[in-house]
């Protein structure tokens, strides 16, 4: 049984704010869809708050600091030095939760290109993991992503439709994390809806068998 949720260590890194940007976006998108993990994150933040109370105090010059600060209270907040996400103002929609929409834009504007002729489409995103761009994958109902292994970890978040592999059944909001040791093929649910996945890979997919090798020649996996 796999969990269908990000592992505790990943949620903890999300709370600490130390995840690579795109993985952080994947986790935030999962959180929008998963009350259970939001409760987990709230618990981790509560623990961080308590540990903050116990952390070592480093004294400063309180009077000088307060003098400076009091003068700023009636002014505006200091401008955040970073710009908002590229699509922070994309209008709400049913498919993409806000954290992902902020980064990739409205789903109607996504530029899908064929990745598996007759079986699937793909959008390559600007950010990724370790130099490999993350992708959105759109696979047609009833199709299969041929058997492959992984050179590094692979993170998948289901946004629409669903698939199953030997570890279980994945639908909207579910996360699958696989390590290099996992070899699997994905069977897309045959229920009329395209399966849309956010996929982040820390290494290449390694095709297994002839069908997968052919798929890899055309860049499908």
């Amino acid at each position: 049984m796999t969990s269908h949720h990000p592992p505790d260590a990943m949620l903890l890194d999300h709370v600490a704010g130390t995840l690579p940007v795109m993985v952080d976006v994947l986790v935030a998108t999962h959180l929008a869809l998963c009350p259970r993990c939001r409760a987990e994150v709230a618990m981790m933040e509560a623990a961080a708050g308590k540990l903050l109370e116990e952390t070592e105090a480093v004294a400063g010059d309180v009077d000088a600091e307060l003098d400076a600060l009091m003068g700023l209270l009636d002014g505006p907040l200091p401008a955040n030095t970073v710009p908002p996400a590229p699509f922070a103002n994309a209008p709400p929609e049913a498919l993409l939760p806000k954290p992902l929409r902020c980064v990739v834009g409205p789903s109607k504007d996504l530029a899908w290109t064929t990745s598996m002729p007759g079986a699937g489409l793909r959008v390559t995103l600007a950010e990724g993991l370790g130099g490999i761009p993350a992708t959105l994958e759109r696979v047609y109902p009833g199709k299969e992503v041929p058997t492959h292994g992984h050179e590094g970890p692979e993170l998948t978040l289901v946004l629409a439709g669903g698939y199953d592999d030997p570890s279980g059944d994945y639908i909207r909001g579910d996360v699958q994390v696989v390590g290099p040791e996992t070899v699997h093929s994905l069977h897309i649910h045959d229920e009329g809806e395209d399966c849309i996945l956010l996929s982040i890979r820390g290494g290449a997919r390694l095709p297994k068998g002839m069908k997968a090798r052919i798929a890899s020649w055309i860049g499908a996996i």
């Binding site: 592992p7 505790d8 260590a9 903890l12 890194d13 709370v15 600490a16 704010g17 130390t18 995840l19 976006v25 935030a28 959180l31 929008a32 869809l33 009350p35 939001r38 987990e40 709230a42 618990m43 933040e45 509560a46 623990a47 961080a48 708050g49 308590k50 540990l51 903050l52 109370e53 952390t55 070592e56 105090a57 480093v58 004294a59 400063g60 309180v62 600091e65 307060l66 400076a68 600060l69 009091m70 700023l72 209270l73 907040l77 200091p78 955040n80 030095t81 970073v82 710009p83 908002p84 996400a85 709400p92 929609e93 049913a94 993409l96 939760p97 806000k98 954290p99 980064v103 909001g173």
Partner: protein
């Protein structure tokens, strides 16, 4: 008789010399939300030294940056005090998330996207027990008790993650243990905290 009198006098003197009881952060923050600058100054004295400790860890000891971030964080506290909900989190937890987000924003090219409860895709939690400050206080006490009794190696992993600003892989390197060990310590720690919260629920 004299002894009794002396005792009574000592007691009276102690009572007279005792400073006015310190207001808790929650009370102070409620006053700050009303625009009370004196309360803000008190809250600052209480929170700033620990925030500085936290941010010095995250900035790898950069005192200038840490001080700027303390100031930014406290300004956000002043501006947003009205949005703080004591039923949801302790003051220290709320302030931790503000400081962390200010730090992340500084490190990144773009602001960190967060789930938005008002977004149509947001899946709300099922209605559960009433969210009252009393329930939150009880949960907080149980969580604190569980934290206090965490084995040192599990506690260390949490502290390194939160305050060292290191991903689990770097924590593993620092502690000189395999990544799998760090991950399982994190998992064990979370199991204990979760179990404490689930008591009597």
């Amino acid at each position: 008789m004299t002894a009794l009198l002396a005792t009574a006098m000592t007691w009276t003197m102690t009572a007279a010399n005792e400073p006015t009881p310190r207001r808790t952060d929650t009370v102070l923050l409620a006053a700050v939300a009303e625009g009370d600058k004196q309360a803000f100054a008190e809250l600052y004295q209480d929170l700033a030294p620990r925030l500085r400790g936290f941010l010095l860890g995250r900035t790898r000891g950069d005192r200038v940056q840490a001080d700027e971030l303390v100031q930014e964080t406290m300004l956000v506290v002043w501006k947003k005090a009205g949005t703080y909900d004591p039923r949801k989190a302790a003051v220290s937890t709320w302030v931790f998330t503000i400081a962390r987000n200010r730090f992340i924003d500084r490190c990144r090219k773009a602001m960190r996207p967060e789930p938005d409860p008002d977004d149509p895709t947001f899946v709300p939690a099922a209605e559960t027990a009433p969210d009252t400050s009393l329930v939150e206080a009880r949960r907080a006490r149980r969580l604190h008790a569980a934290l206090a009794t965490l084995p040192d190696d599990q506690r260390e992993v949490l502290i390194e993650s939160y305050f060292g600003g290191k991903p689990q892989s770097a924590v593993a390197q620092d502690l000189g243990v395999p990544l799998g060990t760090v991950k399982s310590r994190a998992r064990l720690a979370m199991n204990r905290l979760r179990a404490a919260l689930e008591e009597d629920e």
